[in-house]
Symmetry: C2
Subunit: 171 residues, 2 copies
């Protein structure tokens, strides 16, 4: 049987954070995890921390940082497609039990790849391999085909008080 | 300045998972974390996984497992209060930069301790120490005084398909 597809979306804090938590929980049970991060390119504290689990959690980043407020370039698209192709290649040779596609929703939203391209990769996963997809703006088609969807809804956020992203808390 | 209070609540999957992710991110930045789990007593995979970070993340559990469908006993209340007092003691002697009070909302909801008792402990934290509180049913008073609140909203869940909690994925 195919593993389930979990989607974490919405405008609240906690999506990538939950994906990190899911990776750690899986590793705690001895599962092998492929953690792919689209869009973001910086090595945030969580990526550094996950390195302590490099026997079980394999990490690759395919992004140049946040482009939400700038023009998307061909390079952004190429990088995302390279990532998607790399995931397909890795899924053929390694027996992952969990794959995380962090910020894939953002990549879909900005047209870096299509949902058909994403699904053709996900469909290559080994039997029982769970898929975690994060990011704002999960498209309706993805929500329909997912098995679990949580919307992280912002009720209150301290950025309205002028708090910027802090090392070890947000990044 | 006091650190911020973050609350993760709602009926969707991802609350404890996000708290684990936040602990990992903090550890990745070299921050010292106190991770307290109320209500739950079993050693789930995520707790096992966090042990690899025991130089930075200190974990204590004060629960006997899920009591939602059974009667709450004096022992549940005593255990939760012991936990709360222990947090107070630890905050006085160690310089944590992040404290996680996992399932504290559930403890409040079931009257294991009051919000005043919880706040009197949180108020003892060192300068700049961030507080993460998770669990369904966050009381209105807590939402009002928190700096950041995310509601994890269940849009779709596979338990409706009869999927039970799986090792390395849910527990």
């Amino acid at each position: 049987m195919k593993g389930y597809i979990q989607v974490y979306t919405g405008n609240g804090k906690g999506k990538t954070t939950a994906a990190i938590g899911l990776s750690i929980r899986a590793a705690g049970a001895g599962k092998r995890v492929l953690f792919i991060q689209f869009v973001k390119g910086e090595v945030y504290s969580e990526i550094k921390a996950l390195k302590r689990y490099d026997d079980l959690i394999e990490i690759h980043q395919y992004g140049q940082g946040c482009f939400i407020e700038k023009q998307i370039t061909d390079e952004d698209r190429e990088l995302a497609m390279t990532g998607l192709n790399e995931v397909k290649r890795l899924l053929k040779i390694n027996n992952y039990e969990v794959i995380v596609l962090d910020e894939a929703n953002i990549a879909l939203y900005f047209g870096l790849f299509t949902i058909d391209e994403l699904m053709s990769v996900i469909d290559c996963r080994p039997k029982g391999c769970e898929v975690i997809i994060t990011g704002r703006y999960a498209p309706k088609e993805l929500i329909e085909l997912a098995d679990l969807v949580t919307e992280m809804k912002e009720i209150k956020h301290y950025y309205t008080k002028g708090v910027c992203a802090r090392k070890g808390i947000e990044k």
